[in-house]
């Protein structure tokens, strides 16, 4: 329920839309902020994980006796220390997994499914002893043939990861097991009819390889079991309520017996919406009663945490000569990794969402293979699908001789239209976002030899969901906002700002904290671009309740009716002129709260509906060295339909960060496997993310012409859209610079040079 008076196009906002310093900022620039690996407890042990060297193998025997006997080792666990669990679906924000898969991923049961899969863990008094203990654990494997490539995994004779996996979404239900976990179809209209009418048809096959979210902070937690069965966990995660639930379910415990404290999180991008270490650390701690710290090394992050899928995207577009796209057929084949749950479903829905194509079908395949199980990565599935679709649209623009933005404007979805995936678009500004790029000076900047300009668009749904927030007023008239969403990108600033705006306080009088699982109501994960929308909504509603309470207290003080009190600029005003009373500030009312009913605070829990989808349009200028195949990004501008930017600097930051990830994905990032299925580049040396000298300034345009009326200040989610367009924006720019169309990522120098020389 929203207060319609805070309409999305309200003017006169005092705090929202400004750029104050974030309330938690000083801790982050002084080193005082506590991240997962910074938590230190008395008697704390160090936990380490033993991992499979094989991509696919049966576990015949694990012998931990020598490890247990090593002095200094206090606990050793394997999957024998986890109960058997069922296959209920788990809340993972934009990830998807079942309980048994999450548990088996934490500690392998029966089989290892990727090189790096955890098979045992120890806790010891030092990391040195823990490492020695790992060496003393002997595991007997029966090595099995493995498969990594998605189409190889789909082949009927591919090595099977799970003999009890049958493709869902196919009728009749198959009787032969397969690595294809699921087939999905999103369709409307009649594609045969659409293609029959098309005057131009373009087909392309586009391929991406697995990439990692690349957060700089490795996974880290401390777990401390209580002798009375009440346990504590400190961890860096994107959702400590989800961590609580997953740990409880994996270990067969009750939710109320696990208290999870959110440490600061050093980047997540979806990759920290599941658990790897926490249930293991808690199991170790339960064995010995001491706190156990577990931190992944960077190698382990690459080997064993969830990257995103690699995929094959086959696109067929049918259009008229005037550029109207009348039919589209897309097939997505995504790697899920060791367990089902790739983002092919979301990718299928997002693939054509930008365009009003009457006849369309998107078929998706979720395919398991011997790699780590994928986790969400910023608009999961959409960047891969968009790479294919936006490249294909660009190829169509070339065929038709049309400006690539004009082609998109011709086909763009507008308010009132229905998306290919079914939802109705209401307040969207995709056309305005396209036009903003067309009007930007970069679009007209002169290009020199070997330089080219690429354009691409992107879409993400953004979600709402369950959030809780509390607003407490202090006796001296300041306020604190309490939420339970870990702050990845500066959301505490936005929460404080929205509360300050609603209360009529200057931002300096409002603090924002993130509470543990016992201190605030439930919140779903930080992800899905939902926090400013859904948790913000809860914050505003809680602040509005406080305002109502303050008005009631003023009325009590003035002995007038409640509807004769107005709240303005942080103070109560009596509208009954006969009363002749001075306004009562928040400080005045707070100082006498005991006399007017007690402490002033409110907590709201809600399930936010009506999140606004986001559209982005990017333009990228590159220069290619034709003798080496090296690509330099010269200029980049990202425009996005953001609704309203609560704190514009942090919104700009989301765009810039997503762009940088997308550029890395397009040019240099990839998982490199050897013939045995072992990852060859589990480190930042050879997993090449952009560095500061690789990038230019990234210009941003925030389109606020279509605020979301279902959010008190008009906000739409912004964090995920920015990573969707860059893959194709870069590839399209390379094509314009060289005449060569790269349909496979990454566009690394050896591959581009080979293509330029006509060998690729």
């Amino acid at each position: 329920m929203n207060d319609a008076t805070h309409a999305a196009n309200a003017t006169g906002l005092k705090v929202v839309g400004q750029r104050p310093i974030r309330p938690d900022g000083a801790d982050k620039v002084t080193g005082r902020a506590v991240f997962g690996a910074d938590v230190h407890l008395p008697g704390m042990l160090i936990g380490r994980v033993k991992r499979s060297p094989h991509a696919h193998a049966r576990i015949l025997r694990i012998d931990t006796s020598a490890a247990r006997a090593l002095p200094g080792v206090k606990a050793v666990v394997t999957s024998d220390d986890f109960p058997r669990v069922g296959s209920e679906a788990l809340e993972q924000g934009e990830g998807s997994a079942t309980l048994v898969d999450v548990a088996d991923n934490c500690l392998a049961r029966g089989k290892v499914l990727y090189a790096g899969h955890a098979v045992a863990a120890v806790a010891a008094v030092s990391s040195e002893i823990a490492e020695r203990a790992l060496d003393l654990i002997t595991v007997e494997y029966e090595v099995l043939p493995h498969v990594i490539d998605v189409e190889a995994a789909m082949a009927p004779d591919a090595p099977l990861l799970n003999e009890r996996l049958f493709t869902a979404g196919v009728t009749p239900r198959p009787t032969t097991p397969s690595n294809i976990a699921q087939k999905t179809v999103v369709a409307r209209g009649d594609v045969a009819k659409g293609f029959a009418a098309a005057e131009v048809v373009h087909e392309g096959r586009y391929v991406t390889v697995p990439v990692h979210q690349g957060y700089i902070e490795p996974h880290a937690c401390v777990a401390w079991a209580g002798a009375d069965g009440q346990h504590q966990i400190w961890c860096s995660s994107q959702g400590h309520f989800a961590v609580r639930a997953m740990c409880a379910k994996v270990l067969g415990l009750e939710l109320r017996d696990i208290r999870v404290y959110p440490a600061e999180i050093g980047g997540g991008f979806g990759g920290k919406t599941t658990v790897y270490l926490e249930p293991v650390a808690l199991a170790l701690s339960r064995q010995c009663g001491r706190p156990v710290r577990m931190v992944m090394s960077r190698e382990e992050v690459f080997l064993a945490s969830g990257p995103t899928s690699g995929g094959v995207v086959e696109v067929r577009l049918g259009a008229m000569k005037d550029g109207t796209i009348v039919a589209a057929e897309v097939t997505l084949k995504f790697q899920a990794g060791a367990f089902p749950g790739s983002p092919v479903g979301a990718g299928s829905m997002a693939a054509l969402a930008c365009y009003a194509i009457e006849h369309a079908v998107v078929t998706g395949y979720d395919v398991v293979c011997n790699r780590p199980k994928v986790a969400a990565y910023r608009a999961p599935g959409a960047p891969i699908a968009a790479f294919g679709v936006e490249s294909a649209i660009d190829e169509l623009a070339v065929i038709l001789g049309m400006d690539p933005i004009d082609l998109r404007i011709r086909n763009a979805v507008k308010p009132g239209m229905k998306a290919v995936y079914g939802a109705s678009f209401r307040e969207i500004a995709f056309v305005e976002t396209l036009q903003a790029i067309q009007a930007h000076p970069q679009y007209r900047a002169p290009l020199g030899p070997n330089q080219g300009r690429g354009v691409a668009a992107g879409f993400w749904f953004n979600i709402g969901g369950e959030s809780s927030a509390a607003v407490h007023v202090d006796e001296d008239g300041g306020a604190t906002v309490i939420t339970s969403n870990p702050d990845i990108g500066g959301s505490r600033a936005s929460m404080a700002m929205m509360a300050a705006e609603t209360l009529g306080l200057p931002i300096e009088r409002v603090r924002a904290t993130i509470a543990d699982t016992t201190a605030i109501g439930f919140s779903a994960l930080t992800g899905g671009s939902r926090v400013t929308f859904a948790t913000g909504m809860a914050v505003v509603q809680a602040a509005q309740r406080v305002v109502q309470d303050l008005k009631r207290r003023a009325a009590l003080t003035w002995e007038c009716e409640a509807d004769q009190v107005e709240w303005r600029d942080g103070a109560a005003y009596c509208t009954d002129a006969s009363k002749e009373v001075a306004p009562l500030s928040l400080r005045d009312l707070a100082s006498r709260s005991a006399r007017t009913g007690g402490p002033i605070s409110a907590e709201v829990s809600l399930n936010a509906q009506g999140a606004g989808p986001g559209f982005g349009v990017h333009v990228c200028d590159v220069e290619v060295d034709p003798e080496t195949g090296r690509t330099t990004v010269l200029r980049y501008t990202a425009a996005q339909d953001v609704g309203r930017a609560i704190h514009p600097a942090y919104v700009e930051g989301q765009l810039q960060g997503g762009v940088a990830q997308g550029i890395g994905w397009a040019l240099n990032e990839e998982y490199v496997y050897d013939a045995k299925g072992v990852l060859q580049n589990p480190g930042f040396l050879d997993y090449r993310m952009p560095v500061a000298s690789d990038l230019p300034m990234i210009d941003t345009i925030l389109i606020e012409s279509a605020p979301n009326p279902r959010h008190p200040y008009g906000a739409k989610g912004v964090g995920e859209v920015p990573i969707v367009p860059p893959l194709a924006a870069v590839a399209n720019a390379v094509q314009r610079a060289t005449g060569v169309r790269m349909r496979a990522l990454p566009i690394s120098p050896p591959r581009l040079l080979a293509a330029l020389d006509g060998e690729g």
Binding site: I21, V29, A649, M689, S693, M697
Partner: protein, 162 residues
């Protein structure tokens, strides 16, 4: 691994601690001196999150052994603000939203301080190339570069005294 006695000056204060002969300076700072502001992002010198300044030289503390700190001065993020007053770099990072998750921020601030100590008037390109050893995944570097250049301008205007 044996442990040896190490005497160093850390953030202007003389300290004495035991460090392992195979322990990194990073681990010693975090585990022996409880200075957890310096972070491990990779442990192999590829991300710069562990940046500190040793005898005036910017280094990765994950690539030094603890005993190598003996007889040396070490500056970490905890020493950047003096007597509770933030360094212009810290202030600019906050004002320009040059951090999101904040994990890489200590490393960037230490590296940027080392740059401005040497070159008070860097160009954008010089800032980017100097900071190439510090990975950030959240910001795309844009606001970080602006914050460093604005801090440099602020420090030049104030006479560079620090």
């Amino acid at each position: 691994m044996s442990r040896v006695r190490i005497e160093a000056v850390v953030n202007g204060e003389p300290v004495e601690f035991l460090g392992g002969t195979r322990q990194s300076l990073l681990d010693a700072l975090r585990d022996e001196l409880q200075l957890t502001g310096t972070k491990e992002g990779c442990g192999t010198g590829d991300c710069g999150a562990c940046s500190v300044i040793v005898d005036g030289r910017l280094v990765c503390s994950c690539l030094m052994l603890a005993p190598e700190a003996d007889g040396r001065t070490v500056e970490t993020i905890e020493g950047l603000a003096k007597n509770g007053v933030m360094h212009p770099l810290q202030q600019q990072f906050l004002e320009q939203a040059a951090l999101q998750c904040g994990f890489c921020t200590p490393g960037f601030l230490v590296a940027a301080k080392a740059l401005l100590d040497r070159n008070p008037d860097p160009t954008e390109s010089e800032v980017r190339y100097w900071l190439a050893g510090n990975l950030c995944r959240c910001t795309g570097y844009d606001k970080i570069v602006r914050a460093v250049m604005d801090a440099a301008a602020q420090m030049r205007a104030a006479g560079g005294a620090r």
